[in-house]
């Protein structure tokens, strides 16, 4: 980043010099208002400032009266956010974030900074990635102020603390670490604050930058922080004692510390009744294991373990593979790659074209390749099902990870059959055992085994049975609500 330092080496010592430097960009305005009784100077970035504010809230008041001193100028304006300063760094910073500088004379070292930033943001819309049929339909937008507002509305307590950072040498992105003090564990808060504060990067475009920079192990394919676009999910985890990180310009919030099973819980699970929610969760977990294992198992069985195949299925398998020239492994690999290709093409193209591509690819290519004898139809079914199953994961980044770890399994299945799959499982197990999120074990509540947390992991038991906050978060205040009221039992007809 030398080029950056070099240009800033030429230090400006006076305010006019600063302004002179800023004038280099075409959208910077610095002029004297001739019509007003006081000949003040006004300067701002045209692209950052809302012209309406200037014309409605600033210029009329300045044109009304004569002003001798800078303090009078401050008093004359009906805006709250007014600051008198002579600090060059502040002036530069503020002007770059949408302030208007007003001086009385051209050579003054002091001026008034008035906030007049343009706030053009997207409307709050329906969540797209984490859509749910039941429940709130709000999602975060790119403006951190709006996002904070969405969270605050759901948690109107003074304990909700927000710590802000400005990160990125160039982007100066606002990053907020949010937690509820008194509930969130001190150690977790400190870890989060420290890690966020220590970020050294030139630019932050999205919250996933932050997520990658502060995750415990960045060599892992598994995401170690949940990213969500739902304010209700954020409010939910905050009240359990998690820490949330918001990044300006990103509609995704990050949640940590988290665990593996949390990635498979959709927020909708909490809106449905617990039996249905539990069934859905188990279904999702089965889908995930299915997605990872089914292609490798098929390859392993076809390559090495013909003994396992039920006799009634054997004829189907053999006849479907009759004209297929490729060995099972390559066949699987080709099909897997085709599906990834379709997905990638669909994701990069506009929605409508993407759908067409999906249909064309899925149906036409699939059918044609089976009929041409390039792939067996059983393999096609299996690969397509595996791909389908991987999309049941509520968190997008996790479903990516799942699709990725399928390939090592596939390779080891080709090498050593079922034993290979076991070995791959051992590696995966070892990796997950060592993984942490904000220093808390990632595999919890499986290991370390915690019965309390199992109530909301593979299944979701009724709210009444969970009066305590998750053990994994080590909350300072472990009680969610009084256990007594929940446990009260009554006799029949009483």
């Amino acid at each position: 980043m030398n080029w950056f330092k070099k240009s800033s080496k030429k230090e400006e010592h006076t305010l006019p010099q600063v302004l002179e430097y800023l004038k280099k960009s075409g959208d910077f305005l610095d002029f004297q208002n001739p019509q007003s009784p006081t000949p003040y100077w006004i300067s701002y970035f045209r692209s950052l400032v809302d012209a309406e504010i200037i014309h409605r809230d600033i210029l009329p008041y300045l044109n009304k009266t004569t002003i001798k001193k800078i303090e009078e100028l401050k008093a004359a304006l009906p805006i709250e956010n007014v600051m008198v300063t002579s600090d060059l760094e502040t002036i530069r910073q503020m002007m770059l974030s949408g302030c208007v500088l007003i001086r009385l004379n051209e050579k003054d070292q002091q001026g008034v900074l008035v906030k007049a930033e343009m706030n053009k943001v997207r409307e709050i819309s329906i969540p797209e990635e984490e859509f749910s049929v039941v429940g709130p339909k709000e999602s975060f937008v790119e403006s951190i102020t709006t996002n904070l507002n969405l969270i605050r509305k759901r948690l109107p307590v003074p304990e909700l603390e927000i710590r802000e950072f400005k990160l990125g040498k160039l982007s100066k992105t606002r990053v907020a670490v949010i937690y509820i003090s008194g509930i969130a564990n001190e150690e977790n808060i400190n870890t989060a604050l420290q890690r966020v504060g220590e970020i050294e990067i030139h630019q932050i475009l999205d919250s996933s930058y932050v997520s990658q920079l502060i995750s415990d192990n960045d060599n892992s394919p598994f995401p170690q922080l949940i990213d969500t676009e739902r304010p209700d999910r954020v409010a939910g985890v905050l009240s359990e004692g998690s820490i949330v990180i918001l990044v300006d310009g990103s509609p995704h919030a990050l949640i940590g510390p988290t665990t593996l099973v949390k990635f498979f819980s959709a927020l909708e699970d909490y809106f449905l009744n617990w039996q249905l929610a539990s069934v859905l969760r188990i279904l999702r977990l089965i889908a995930v294991s299915f997605s990872i294992l089914i292609t490798p198992i098929y390859v392993a069985v076809l390559n090495y373990h013909y003994e396992l195949i039920p006799k009634d299925l054997m004829a189907t398998l053999i006849s479907s593979r009759d004209f297929v020239p490729l060995p099972p492994f390559l066949e699987a690999l080709v099909l897997e790659l085709t599906i990834e290709l379709l997905r990638e093409a669909g994701a990069r193209l506009p929605t409508k074209v993407g759908q067409t591509i999906g249909i064309v690819g899925g149906i036409v290519i699939g059918t044609a390749s089976v009929e041409a004898g390039l792939t067996s139809n059983v393999m096609l079914i299996i690969v397509a099902l595996a791909a389908l199953a991987s999309f049941t994961t509520p968190v997008y980044k996790m479903s990516n990870a799942i699709r990725l770890i399928r390939f090592p399994f596939l390779v080891l299945a080709e090498l050593w059959g079922m034993i290979g799959i076991s070995i791959a499982f051992i590696f995966l197990m070892g990796h997950l055992l060592r993984l942490t999120s904000f220093g808390r074990p990632y595999l919890e509540p499986i290991y370390p085994p915690r019965l309390e947390d199992l109530k909301d992991a593979f299944v979701r038991l009724p709210f009444k049975t969970q009066p305590k906050r998750p053990v994994q978060l080590q909350s300072q205040d472990t009680v969610k609500f009084s256990e007594k009221a929940a446990k009260e039992k009554k006799d029949i007809d009483e």
């Binding site: 396992l308 039920p310 079922m418 034993i419 051992i426 197990m429 055992l433 290991y447």
Partner: protein, 363 residues
């Protein structure tokens, strides 16, 4: 001599249950039945329980010593024999631990080679497996215990598969009950106790418990669970096989799977063996972890270095055992040593340690 471990590496006492159980279940359980049934035939289920009781006694002795010492085997040895002899004996123990890990891995691979892949190269499999083991051990004791825990929980479903052979079993095989002399039982105790080995790693990881004294209860429960499991397996084996048939079956437990036929899987043993890869993982990880930990305590090297040394050693040694007889010999040697260590040396040490600590306290 108290051994202290940093707080963040400590584990909850109840995990002792999983550690001891996962250590005891390894390759022995694949074929322990025939060694025991040679002597006590249909009464072998009683031998299983008697063996378990003996192990309980040894565990109790170990805990007595460890509770007093608040340390590990090295500190016990040093109290009992002084620095030099104590260290010498501990080296023997380290060698035993390493040999135990190698034996488990090699024996399991032998089963794989016989059952599935005749042409699988020993060193390649050992290499890959040891990399996995290194990956886990490098995560510290917590992740080793994690493997112990998952090594019990994940393959647990296998226990239900053993109900399938009951379809072709004959309960009359168990009768007449108690038709053997006490002498037979005592002779049969030896091969039985071999299947319980593995719990002696307690002598290394004891200081890693939060409030180590409280873990004793769980340790005993874990052993009890192993007894129950062996008892269950033995009972099914006895009703499924007739004595002469059992005597000819090298791996009775796995052979029982050959009768299972599910609608979706016609032959279960291939899946069972694949799952067994996970069952033996705690054995290998904990044995090598314990060996490297003791080496660290004694020789003033980092545990990472000693671990790599041990793994490389294991990598070189295990392909040297390349046929049934030599593997059988290795198994015999290690289990003989284990037997005399646990049931001969530990009681001896127990009394000696008791005596010596009294003497040292006075002095």
């Amino acid at each position: 001599m108290k051994v202290t471990v940093k707080e963040q590496f400590l584990i909850s006492p109840y995990l002792a249950f999983f550690i001891v159980h996962s250590m005891q279940i390894g390759v022995g359980v694949m074929g322990f039945q025939r060694y025991v049934a040679t002597y006590t035939e249909q009464d072998s289920w009683l031998t299983v329980m008697m063996g378990g009781a003996a192990v309980h006694l040894v565990i109790w002795m170990m805990y007595k010593m460890l509770n007093k010492e608040q340390g590990d085997i090295l500190s016990i040895h040093e109290t009992a024999y002084g620095k030099w002899i104590g260290r010498l004996l501990t080296i023997l123990f380290i060698i035993y631990l390493i040999a135990m890990g190698i034996t488990v891995l090699r024996t399991f691979l032998e089963v794989l080679q016989v059952w599935m892949f005749t042409l699988m190269k020993t060193w390649v499999f050992t290499f890959v497996y040891l990399i996995a083991a290194y990956h886990i051990i490098a995560g510290g004791f917590r992740s080793v215990v994690g493997v112990c825990f998952l090594g019990v929980v994940v393959p647990f479903y296998l226990n239900f598969t053993f109900l399938a052979p009951l379809e072709f079993s004959n309960v009359r095989n168990l009768f007449p009950i108690l038709d053997h002399s006490i002498k037979d039982f005592i002779v049969a105790m030896k091969p039985m106790t071999l299947s319980y080995l593995g719990f002696e790693t307690l002598l290394v990881f004891y200081p890693f418990f939060k409030k180590p004294e409280t873990s004793q209860k769980w340790f005993h429960y874990g052993n009890l669970f192993t007894v129950v499991l062996y008892f269950y397996l033995m009972l099914i084996t006895l009703v499924y096989y007739t004595p002469d048939h059992l005597r000819r079956t090298i791996w009775a437990t796995i052979s029982m799977w050959k009768i299972i036929r599910f609608p979706f899987v016609e032959r279960f043993e291939y899946i069972g063996l694949a799952t067994w890869t996970i069952v033996i993982l705690p054995n290998i990880c904990l044995a090598f972890w314990a060996a490297s930990r003791m080496a660290k305590r004694m020789f003033n090297v980092t545990q990472k270095k000693s671990l790599i040394f041990i793994l490389v050693f294991a990598m070189i040694v295990s392909p040297m055992f390349d046929d049934r007889t030599s593997i059988e010999k290795l198994n015999m040697m290690v289990s003989q040593f284990g037997f005399y260590f646990n049931f001969g040396y530990i009681p001896l040490l127990f009394f000696f340690h008791y005596f010596m600590s009294k003497v040292r306290n006075k002095a």
